[in-house]
Amino acid sequence: MALLQIAEPGQSPKPHQRRLAVGIDLGTTNSLVAAVRSGLAEPLPDAEGRVILPSAVRYHADRVEVGQAAKAAAASDPLNTVLSVKRLMGRGVEDVSHLGEHLPYRFVEGESHMPFIQTVQGPKSPVEVSAEILRVLRERAEATLGGELVGAVITVPAYFDDAQRQATKDAARLAGLNVLRLLNEPTAAAVAYGLDQQAEGVVAIYDLGGGTFDISILRLTRGVFEVLATGGDSALGGDDFDHAVAAWIIDQAGLSRDLDPAAQRQLLQAACAAKEALTNADSVEVVHGDWRGTLSRDIFDALIEPMLARSLKACRRAVRDAGIELEEVEAVVMVGGSTRVPRVREAVGELFGRTPLTDIDPDQVVAIGAAIQADTLAGNKRGAGDELLLLDVIPLSLGLETMGGLMEKIIPRNTTIPVARAQDFTTYKDGQTAMMIHVLQGERELVSDCRSLARFELRGIPPMVAGAAKIRVTFQVDADGLLSVSARELSSGVEASIQVKPSYGLTDGEIARMLQDSFQHAGGDKAARALREQQVEAQRLLEAVQSALDADGERLLGEDERLAILAAMDELRALAAGEDAHAIERQIKRLTQITDAFAARRMDASIKAALAGRRLNELEE
């Protein structure tokens, strides 16, 4: 393992030193980690030179195996080997049974509604399984890059809802990763392509992966990637093609649909192999047990037609949502392994009336884009003038349950994030003192057709006649696409708020236990870990304040203010060299408070500068 680097007290690390940050594509079938090295974004290989890590996790009694070896054991040890865990992220037990397939696991219910998989190591949540994959990628990156990571950008399907995003972030936390940003996969692909080809104008990204489908329409203008609309299906992908082929084999071979887990895995492997062979061949021999048959590309194309049609419909909707016509799309980019299927390429080409771009390996393009964004977020400046900015949107409308079981939309889909929006509600009974806030996500009018994200109560409303109270509910979605909701009764100021902990997420208790387990697993102890975390946080803050001082200290601060900040920094530096985690934490808070006004002034100044710069340009033009 690489040794941690510690600078001499009072000295920040050399300014030219690159901060190590990676992009991770946590895929349904395969995962990758990529980083910018010597100006070039590329996937990082493992010790054997392989860049792709199959998203397969096998639990042994005393250890965990991730990747190729685990995938190979899927048929022989189906109950302890988890494949395509991404399809289970942020889903409830009942959703899982609706995924339209038989999963060979034994599910048990945890404290939360999340389905846990029973393994030889006990019940494992999808979040923990994903964390195992992320941990392997983190270790690979640290070994290759030779240092500790500042953070990671982790990609998610654009169509992931709040619960699925939160689950992904929880998994990263368990794996010991600092998440710089959750980035939508198609947007990441657009970054990889856009920068590569200096593209301008409207592009469509068609991203069909193992288990999810996304379509995003973006406008590229001088380094700004503006998502106009996004759509998709978080349960549609190459896995479904495999299931369709498997069902065809069952029909042809006259097999029973009730297969044991091992036979089911074998069947799916045969189906997947046949699908892949059809990329370059017109027909393929399929062998399953005693049965032998021929699958032609025509039959295969017919089998996947319904799924393909669903994806094309989503494309048309996204184009409408973007407020443009199909002809205005200037380039179509293919992302995800399933876009290797010839019929998929052909159908997408027909829809948009142009040949889709496939220059960058569709399995790697997302990780490469994420690495570029991670490098930017970590503070490694790119050349002046070609700053990169990604403006993304929420994929699904957010709203509240109102009287009669109806969904009232507060933030419509395809709204640019970050966004904050408030709406006022009132009581419907005289003397009503509490109100249930039920947060929903989806497009349908009936609550029962939408996804329930969270419920919380606002209590202590002063008794008034019906309709007199004024309750303001504020929705805020951050740049990761994560929602928080607060509610306030305006006349009394009674307040209730929650960081939306999705109904299908892990409870805080479950996360605490898992973190505890992972410390024990890593052989460390909790106190040492807590100290280390505070030290890292202190370092991060010190660097942030120092660079703010360097940039604007003279201009925006009085001498007294500047000296006070410097003194607080010295104190924090001294504490961070010691071992009192609480004292470090307190001083971090103090320094944050002291720099409060400075931060606000800097923000104002940067807005003014942006406007002034604009006007100057216009004068020149």
């Binding site: 901060r19 500042v150 953070g151 710089l180 940003r181 203008t221 001088r222 700004v224 503006e226 419909k313 048309r316 909707r317 409408r320 949502d321 964004q373 930017t376 977020l377 970590a378 503070g379 700053e387 900015l389 990604l390 403006l391 709204t415 640019t416 994030i417 970050p418 966004v419 904050a420 929006r421 805020q476 951050d478 740049a479 991060r540 803050l541 660097e543 942030a544 304040v545 703010a548 944050t592 720099t595 409060d596 931060a599 606000a600 800097r602 923000m603 940067s606 807005i607 500068a609 942006a610 406007l611 710069g613 604009r614 006007r615």
Partner: protein
Amino acid sequence: MGSPCHFALFGLQPDFRVDLAQLAARYRELAKAVHPDRFAHASEREQRLALEQSAQLNEAYQTLRSAPRRALYLLSLSGEALPLEATVQDPEFLLQQMHWREELEELQDSADLDGVAAFKQRLKGAQNELDERFAECWNDPARREEAERLVRRMQFLDKLAHEVRILEERLDD
């Protein structure tokens, strides 16, 4: 104090006529300055400020780029905020509304895609005409009532345009 004026944020004087290309360009410049991605490595306080500023900027941009929302915002700047669902004292337009709706229902029943396209075209024309009329009168206190009536018409047509989109989606099945 409340949030600053949406127009001022973009360095513009309040007006209904807005150069949308220029607005978009300024939006991108401002977004570059305040987006949380610019502060991923800054202190927590700066990150929170960036989040708030960006949300405010996005809200301002969404308001100004949409004609009905911009119109409503202008009226709220120069007087009482308009009640959302006021009784419409506009019999002439009420009649027209009924015609529009009947037509849309017929299009749905006949699943006539060309008809929908033509309907959209006419709707767009009606919207442009309203925009022109509003631009003429919004700043004249004596014509406030007329301006309010026009905003309500704009809102109705906006809702209708949304319904057309839903219809298109349904016909796409």
